[in-house]
Symmetry: D2
Subunit: 292 residues, 4 copies
């Protein structure tokens, strides 16, 4: 089938390649991008036969909104937009409603797989009406990993991004789990070779996992991670997971701790610990350290 | 080779079977146990040719200590004791010292694999002197999973149990991660079929792991876990992990949150939340609920 | 001066009394309430001479919005509405904008003090333009505690509720702090009489505080809090505090832990701990407890 | 009465002064200290009439042990040692037993009050047998704050330090509470003048407390704490509180979060966040920052 693909970055570019390998036609567009197949959204729409499927792989928020807005003026009833970016699930219903008034379908799709997706396939969690999902199905089949797992119709519009968001929340805490364990092994002097312990865990243990394999891979490149700074960005899904939990009165102590650890990692100095230091000095005369 | 095995419970029994399948001779003992091969520690020692290797698979703490004590009077210089139970790593140096005075070697070994170990193999993390480890090596080979991973000589005496302890700490937080994500998906009404979302995650995602596979298996047996109580025991390693972290001034927020969630799960009512309720009532006149 | 007061519940009723004691005229209204001075918002507005000040002490969200809506059709340019309820600070700008179009001023005011406010005074944190604040000033003076502290013009519209929200976030963690300490003292058997230890702390310690005084008061009424259930509601400010922290990438581990402890306290059984129990059973054959 | 006082540091020196102001005789000793009244423990013991009371105000652990050891050879049956330092409560029973064999009494006493104790009095939590406590009573009376609160006989030997330890655990979380709230107010731009908000909270609020007063005092000295580094030491009691909680299976999420925040504050770079950064890079190609 034919697919319009908007966004050709790290994710979008590889996805175009994987879909093409499966025998589909992909018309890829991204502004001012050398490898783009067309040079405007209008050209992209014109290049596709109706009913069209256009997959967005662009930054969540304002960029996604502007592409949806522009496409809503170019597409025709019966066409379908898939938002495969990292949008907040609460945006999906708004987009679906906006497009439904024009007879355009909307499917949201959370995509996992990162730089490995081209070879291994991308895990897909999508939401939307059956009729719209059906039109995208061949593309889902092309993108997903081989085997019986790796894609799911998670529910109505928004369910895909919601499922992906929770996936990322879990991912935060799993990464934090390995990170805490690694730091403790490195700090204590019981274990001679921490990397070899991590390596051994890849078979037979309860914690064997892809993230563990990646940890070993990272340690093989830099045994004590000396080349890195302890600085971790966050792309939104972790925050939204905690907010969704608060809305539902669900306690998420480990996931939230993982999010907060990232926040702290990005502070050059901790304001709250200045206050703790100030209070200790006030009541106990404990020494404080001056700022640098 | 010949191995003496003390303890024939869920773990020990299966381990005897796996070692025998590898062609070794195992003399198994456990008090008042129908399947025991001998009926006393003395008989066990007598049944083995020197130099002997005796593997303990008994409860940590007092039981392990009493078996070490009794064996220290029965074994001869050149023999080796392996503690494969869930001992605290701080016990290992004591046992090694006690036995070294008698010329008996000591190796500590953390064992992971649970009820799946018989078929899949057991992950092994061991600590001790090279000469003692060498005597046990064929048994390690028999127990470990096939493939290149699954066993590691982690360092000096105590390093094996220390590595296993940290493994379990990581395991706590990974389980908590999946548990938190699952609760949130069940509580929110975005996702139609939470189990299918979990199932789909088994390929292509960042969080694919053996624990995820087990979660799907559990949900296939009881889709909403209605048959279970939210009650989780802890066997010590999580506590020791946090204590080791405190000793090393390493922050472990996710692992500790996971441990505390288990503590809370075992309380019929929460004393600390009684105090919070009492304080809210005191300052705000907020309603309180009476105990049942 | 004259004040219109909408809402005569636990807070509003006492505030009317305190303002009257200071010599002001209060026209109080609440629907279907015996002690109301007038029987409609229209009557309330008619009873006041312009420029009017009307203070809302009603539930946050829909109720506050409907009262603002109705008053916006009754008040005149130059009048001022004060929202003294527990509104989310993000509602304040909306209300201020809606009213500014009609020439009506808006001031938001966080109020602390609970059932003790009538005698001790209410701590006030308010936000808004100087000209609007000035019209309410005599009422602020009447409500606030004696002495130099207890009220603050925190900034523009929304700043009052924001400051009150953070106050409550701090309050959550302080209550949790005393609650955790109390539970530990009760659980360990070192201290003979936990209540007497709490009582002693009221002078000379670093933790002396009003909440500690209230804890002693609660323990004097029920030494081990046997009459209470460990169940704590939350009224929104704690949730909003965590959300504001996430928006600002500020880590709030203690405050968030306190919020989550309340969430957990309200669950009859913990879904997430069911999953932990299920996973332990899957890999280790650990016993699970059936639901009741 | 007469008191021997060992240790004349920040705490001991002021305590000597306060006890003298109450009319008692204090013989103070500290090695190589200009203001010492005697120049050896032997001189100190010789300067006191039996039955003697000797109060230790020296660093916990090895120093306290060595002083107890030396005094045990100098004192006589009927004498009493008071350990007023920050000893771990588990040391107390050992000291009591060691001294009881010689007929010497032992009382442990947690002391709170810091640099303010000289003027305001010291809060005291002590443990031990009634007969030993009785001999120290006049000193407790001299040290404690005026008023009805501020000292407690918390139980048997060890109970004093245990109560003080929990006091400090609570203190950690209260400090963290104010610190988190302060950071959030500073980070958000809702509130114009954070210091004035803190100042206002000193009356009428639920969170009014001595620590809040000290926070205002610190902000008056340095409005945004620009002179300080966000670096907080810990003196042991917080760690022991968490360990005691683990021993008793009591969840302490807020206190533990406060302890871990201090650990993190002392790390130049976070090893665990290096691992998180490494994993994000491995699966997603996310940029990492190099170490400096």
């Amino acid at each position: 089938m034919e697919l319009g693909l908007v966004g050709l970055g790290r994710m979008g570019g590889n996805m175009r390649e994987r879909i093409r390998r499966a025998g589909h036609t992909v018309v890829g567009y991204a502004p001012d991008t050398p490898g783009a197949d067309v040079h405007s959204l209008r050209d992209l729409v014109d290049a596709l036969a109706a009913p069209r499927v256009v997959w967005l792989m662009v930054p969540a928020g304002a960029v996604t909104q502007s592409v949806v807005d522009e496409l809503s003026g170019l597409l025709a009833p019966g066409d379908v937009i898939v938002d495969g970016g990292n949008s907040r699930w609460t945006d999906d219903a708004k987009h679906a409603e906006q497009l439904a008034e024009l007879g355009i379908g909307f499917v949201d799709c959370g995509v996992s797989g990162g730089v490995w997706g081209l070879e291994n396939g991308y895990a897909l969690m999508y939401g939307g009406d059956d009729e719209h999902v059906a039109k995208v199905k061949p593309i889902f089949e092309a993108l997903k990993p081989e085997g019986e797992f790796g894609s799911v119709h998670a529910g109505r519009v928004g369910a895909g991004h919601f499922a992906k968001m929770v996936h990322n929340g879990i991912e935060y805490a799993m990464m934090q789990a390995f990170a805490e364990g690694w730091e403790l092994l490195e700090a204590a002097d019981e274990v001679t070779d921490v990397r070899e312990v991590f390596r051994s865990w890849q078979e037979g243990t309860v914690i064997r996992s892809w993230l563990l394999d990646l940890a070993v891979r990272a340690l093989d490149q830099d045994e004590h991670l000396d080349q890195l700074r302890g600085y971790a960005a966050d792309s939104g899904e972790g925050r939204w997971t905690v907010e969704a939990a608060i809305d539902n009165a669900v306690p998420l102590p480990a996931i939230t701790a993982s999010l907060f650890a990232r926040f702290s990692s990005r502070q050059d100095d901790s304001p709250q610990m200045k206050m703790v230091a100030a209070l200790r000095n006030q009541f106990g005369g404990h020494a404080v350290e001056g700022s640098e």
